[in-house]
């Protein structure tokens, strides 16, 4: 719910700044490691957006992947372990973003 609130607050801010009458679409990117359930985000957003200019907005959710890179050999890995086969430590980059990419508004 707190993610839906963060999202709605920003959507309404940008919509108002641009004199929107209605928000038609919201495009948001969520990192896979946030482990946000898309269906729940959609549901929460629809609940709190009721009676706002974003109440009939379509929520388009994109997912960004985290990169797992070995600090030793530089290999990009697919598994979740802490160490690479070469013995190097695996660093996780990205995958934790929550970004409002764009909105489509009617003015």
């Amino acid at each position: 719910m707190s993610y839906a609130e963060l999202l709605l607050e920003q959507v309404l801010n940008f919509a108002r700044e641009n004199m929107a009458k209605e928000v038609k679409e919201v495009e948001v990117e969520i990192g896979e490691l946030l482990l946000l359930n898309q269906k729940q985000l959609e549901f929460c957003f629809s609940v709190i957006a009721r009676d706002t200019i974003a109440e009939s907005a379509r929520l388009k959710i994109l997912t960004s992947k985290a990169k797992r890179i070995c600090a030793g050999c530089g290999m990009e890995l697919n598994s979740d372990g802490v160490f690479c086969k070469c013995g190097g430590e695996v660093r996780i980059e990205g995958g934790k973003d929550f970004i409002l990419r764009k909105i489509i508004i009617e003015v």
């Binding site: 719910m1 707190s2 993610y3 963060l6 999202l7 920003q10 940008f14 641009n18 929107a20 009458k21 038609k24 948001v28 490691l33 946030l34 482990l35 979740d80 372990g81 802490v82 430590e89 996780i92 934790k96 973003d97 929550f98 970004i99 409002l100 990419r101 764009k102 909105i103 489509i104 508004i105 009617e106 003015v107």
Partner: protein, 222 residues
């Protein structure tokens, strides 16, 4: 009347990160070390804080912020020990965020160590950096052998993982070695076995805390 396609590119978690940075500045300026204690409901977070305060309050100025959805029972337990404590009720929110901490930090300007007890769960606190030096994640064997495996993200960001109530492991049919090896697959954090009722692991924890207090400028990002 027409449609406009508006590029926004706004980082929605930025606000929390910015306020956490302000908290961080305050802590560093006043020489306060801050430990964010996260963990499941009933894993022993408040008992750990009690043990820490009892052992260290004569040599250190300690403060505590206690986060809970509702009620003030933790606050009652800790303030009884004669230290500065604040209760934050988060209502339907299941984590503390940087802004909630920011509202309270000035009360703790004169402490050496600030212990923050996050709201009891292993999910929501993960993504909300508060400005702390260290993150501790606490679980107990009674939550089940696979509790770590089921909540990987919070263990990945931990600096110390505590497995508590180990004397109950046999009674609840849990293999602590298996819990520990799961934690070490996910995280490089030190893992501490504990049983606060039996005073197991408390001394190692206190040593860990003393170590934190001796390190300067251990700044980290969320």
């Amino acid at each position: 009347m027409h449609l406009i396609d508006l590029k926004v590119e706004a980082d929605l978690l930025l606000k929390n990160k910015e306020i956490a940075r302000k908290n961080r500045e305050f802590f560093e300026k006043n020489g306060i070390k801050v430990v964010n204690i996260m963990g499941a409901i009933g894993s022993g977070k408040t008992t750990l804080i009690e043990g820490t305060v009892k052992a260290l309050k004569n040599s250190l100025r300690i403060g505590a912020i206690l986060g809970d959805v509702a009620g003030d029972s933790d606050f009652q337990r800790i303030s009884k020990l004669g230290i500065k404590a604040v209760m934050i009720n988060t209502g339907k929110e299941c984590h503390l965020d940087a802004n909630l901490i920011y509202q309270e930090v000035s009360k703790f300007h004169d402490v050496d160590l600030l212990l923050i007890e996050n709201v009891g769960n292993l999910i929501c606190p993960t993504d909300f950096y508060l400005g702390e030096d260290l993150r501790v994640v606490m679980v107990s064997v009674t939550e089940g052998e696979d509790v770590i495996e089921k909540h990987p993200e919070i263990f990945r960001i931990a600096d110390l993982i505590i497995i508590n109530k180990i004397s109950l492991a046999d009674a609840v049919g849990v293999n602590v070695d298996r819990m520990e090896s799961c934690a070490s697959r996910l995280s490089r954090a030190r893992i501490l076995r504990m049983d606060l009722k039996e005073k197991v692991g408390l001394e190692e924890w206190l040593e860990f805390i003393r170590g934190v207090l001796n390190v300067s400028g251990n700044s980290r990002e969320g």
